[in-house]
Amino acid sequence: MNYQKIITEILILAGISGVLATLIVVAKAILQNYGECVIDINGKRKVTVKGGGSLLTSLAEENIFVPSACGGKGSCGACKCVVTDGGGPVLPTEKPFFDAKELAANYRLACQVKVKNDIKIEIPEEIFNIRKFNGKVAKIEDFTYDIKGVTFDLISPKEIDFKAGQYVQLRSPKYGKVRESVTRAYSISSKPSLQNQIQLIIRRVPEGICTTWVHDFLKEGQEVEITGPYGDFFIRDTQADIIFVAGGSGKAPIKSMLEDLAEKGCNRKMSYFFGAKTTKDLYLTKYIESFCDVFPDFTYYPILSHPEPDDNWQGRTGWIMPYFPDALRDPKNTEAYLCGSPGMIAAVTKNLMELGIPEDKIYYDSFV
């Protein structure tokens, strides 16, 4: 008798739970069905999307690729755009990325804004030039123990237009223990005229999801997804002297710039400082030195901070900064192009400004 009662009560409870669960599912479908929403872009173009997704992914589905170095996780801040109407309140996850001026100007992170209704946004016109490419790995080269050069053939579309110094985003798939696909930004190291192929130089980041995939899992012949080009790191069309400073994989955009300038011709005074710890961290040295024969006034300064006795290093040692004055003849008429780790960018920017190079003539990748 007692068993019957217990079973009946369990069945009643299960029935009530089932009804409640169904109600929740139905309510969710009704309440979270935002229908079709219109995204008005710059007051010039309108796209209709299915509501409910993030602004970033909704735009991507319409082949409008707002930069995002973290794949929409809200960690990079690269997908900043202006939402003038319909974006809802700014989320706590967005606030650390904006100062008061930007908040007042309606800046938002596209990955954090959910499209629930019609929405008006403003994005730079250059974003319309960003496309999604399917590519195939043509070649993987070991440049150092933690840096690889990876060359991709572009399959569809077959060609890319970019400025030397710009970057693309590479998508890594699920692999091993990694359960989510991620996208990460890498500078293009090949020249723009080679339109059907791009090369990236990728340094392994300890515990990095995408770089671990590139270094340990990616194989020649494998198909990949790339979006780009992004960024405003490119050579300004002036006659000012140039100082390039790079470390690690920061050699990538500088290589692209030098190859591009070599094709176009350049008489500007150029000095390239590459900082590394030991000879194990040097790569493409002879190739970069070969530009001394291409340009009338080009000097390459590889500098080792901690050469080992076995390195038999006869070149410059220590930090790179003390060598800058050797290359400077008119700081006010000098542009600096930096690419490397945040530590390097911070140290070098501070030093170059102390030497008199105007802050607005010091350029570096915005995604560091």
Binding site: G74, G77, E180, V205, P206, G248, G275, P342, A347
Partner: protein, 151 residues
Amino acid sequence: MKLSPTDKIIQDKMKPGILTANGFLGNDKRNFRDIIADDMKIVNSFDKSLEDIANRMQYLMEKSFLSYDSSIVVDKNYEVEYNSYRGVLLSPFPNAGRFGKATIKVTNLKNHMCVVWTPLHVHFIRDFGFFEGKGSKFRIEPEILYKAIFD
């Protein structure tokens, strides 16, 4: 310790392949709350608080940041090697901000104790007393950390 619904989300974010390739828990079978509770027993035996430890880590980290990704000696006793990488990491804890990708290796020149941490750890330790799970690549043993940065 039983995990709250919010804790379960945090625990999931600490697993491999979510925020980092191998996650923050290593091969530790304990949940992160238990890991914290066990490590706090050790920290509570120190004459320094979590705040003191995090402040010290922050100090050494900031001193070495402008070293052009190299090593410098701080206060004549700590060799600090800073290696930074492009990009930022999110904390698995909610609304905790973002942290630069870097490794900071500190070697105490007197006792030769050596520890490696990332900017994320300063937040982990200051705000939660989390030193990561056993077997995690960046697990910090509290005793070693103490001896490396205070002795």
